[in-house]
Amino acid sequence: MSAPAVRRAVVDRDVCVGAGQCVLAAPDVFDQSDEDGLSYVLVDPLPEELTPSVRDAATRCPARAVQLEAGAGAGAETGAAAETGTGADPAADRQPTGPSPA
């Protein structure tokens, strides 16, 4: 995929279910807290070479809790958008807790 570089990754801790997919996909970027098991981001902003692995993490996240912010100009994308490259996924709107603005 020739999608733009991802500059920031944000975990929506209100919707994270702690399955650790993001940690498996991008161990340099995500970690799960010992305290509550929820994920958090280790590096901000992201170096460009981590773009593929954070995209993978966003796709894998079962709760669509990993939000990505592309380089200059582009808005935030959710895991679903990162995965299909086509933008909004109707299912993303039906999350019990909507993604909070980063």
């Binding site: 702690g18 650790g20 799960q32 509550d36 098991g37 796709t59 079962p62 299912a91 019990p96």
Partner: protein, 402 residues
């Protein structure tokens, strides 16, 4: 059969797997022609069956789909589930209840926490293999390896004292044995629950450094002083983590024996075992029948509307062989990169124990290939008792020799 299906009404579900390592034959046709199909359940009710990867992932994240087994529209495959004490059973809960209780246990299953169990799992696996190698040269690998590894691992995880492990294991074994009668099976479940209840009470009174004690503290802090609920959670962890992992060990071993090229590749380069495990999870999709939901409101999917009150079966197995998501999906391919399979489900109920399952399978196959690289089946593959008669796919027995 398919010809008459239309005239006779929707096809029956579950659909049988005709070849041990293949999916039900009907899945491929349904996925192409009728991605959301009506099926007839053993209870006589009808439900929808979703078979495409994108649809299945989308439905898994739909907040209008409920996992509540007590809902009259739930597409149950067995009758009588409504009567079971469901306290503590995460997969049967919806938010906000689900969120509250899943959050109590998440920190026990993080990637890092699970990794700390590796030495204990390795010891268990090596001890099983020691026993196998010291005994007669034909064994049932299900009894000697596949079942004891997860059950002892869960003992370790929950903090079941060494002295009690035999009680625990024997009941767990009875519960999964197809020769156990219905009443005996129920009885072993009741005994296990009683055992765990006693353990919960002890840990509530005198917390230690183990999962149950920490859970007891968290329950108390959340104002839930319910020992039965906590017992249910412990029982869930046992039930969800025992037979699943055992089935994967047995199927994976049979598959490796039947595919010597793959086995040789892994013997030469054990660092590929985790990849093989991931592909086995996708390929076997043993929990295909565990991911039903019921619609709480109308849901549009393509041209079809799932009406409020209707049941939907999200076939993770069919999704995992969808060519739209996986190139050459019928091939077992170690070099596969993403997208992730849905063998552990997706959405808020995605398997809590998945990283533990990965760890156990990694340790088991690595050790098995190192110590018994010449393992053979002691009966023809076609004669092995594959579990076509249970909710979870797997093997009842796996006679092997070397």
């Amino acid at each position: 059969m398919t010809e008459t299906a239309d005239a006779a009404g929707p096809p029956a579900y579950p659909m049988p797997r005709t070849c041990p390592f293949a999916l039900p034959e009907q899945y491929a046709r349904l996925r192409e022609e009728e991605p959301l199909a009506r099926v007839l359940l053993p209870t006589g009710r009808e439900a929808w069956l979703a078979t495409r990867y994108e649809d299945v992932r989308r439905l898994f994240t739909d907040a209008n789909l409920s996992a509540d087994r007590v809902h009259p529209g739930f597409p149950a495959l067995l009758s009588g589930q409504q009567a079971i004490d469901r306290r503590g059973f995460l997969p049967w809960m919806d938010p906000p209840e689900h969120t509250t209780y899943r959050r109590m246990v998440i920190s026990e299953f993080t990637v890092r926490k699970v990794e700390t169990l590796r030495p204990a799992v390795t010891r268990t696996v090596q001890e099983c293999l020691d026993r196998i190698l010291a005994g007669p040269r034909t064994v049932d690998l299900v009894q000697e390896l596949a079942l004891p590894v997860p059950s002892l691992t869960i003992c370790e995880l929950l903090g079941v004292p060494y002295g009690d492990r035999e009680v625990f294991q024997s009941r767990a074994r009875l519960m999964t044995d197809r020769n156990t009668s219905g009443p005996d099976r129920l009885n072993s479940l009741v005994e296990l629950r009683a055992y765990l209840h006693g353990l919960v009470l002890r840990r509530q009174a005198e917390p230690r450094e183990d999962l149950l004690s920490r859970l007891a503290v968290r329950y108390r802090e959340a104002g839930v002083e319910d020992a039965e609920h906590l017992t249910g959670m412990a029982l869930l962890i046992l039930v969800a983590g025992h037979e699943t992992t055992a089935n994967m060990i047995a199927l994976g071993t049979a598959y490796l024996i039947e595919h010597p090229d793959l086995r040789d590749t892994l013997v030469k380069d054990p660092s590929l075992v985790p990849k093989a495990v991931e592909e086995m999870l996708r390929y076997f999709s043993i929990s295909d029948h565990s991911t039903g939901r019921v619609a709480l409101a109308d849901i549009e999917l393509g041209d079809t509307t799932i009406a409020a009150g209707e049941g939907v079966l999200l076939s993770n197995a069919a999704a995992n062989r969808d060519a739209r998501a996986f190139e050459r999906p019928e091939e077992f391919d170690l070099s596969r990169e993403s997208p992730s399979h849905v063998a552990f489900g997706y959405g808020i109920h995605q398997c809590l124990g998945q990283n533990l399952a990965r760890l156990e399978l990694d340790v088991v196959f690595t050790a098995l290939l190192a110590r018994l690289p010449d393992l053979r089946l002691a009966a023809p593959l076609a004669e092995l008792p594959f579990k076509n008669d249970t909710i979870m796919y797997g093997l009842h027995e796996l006679p092997v020799t070397w």
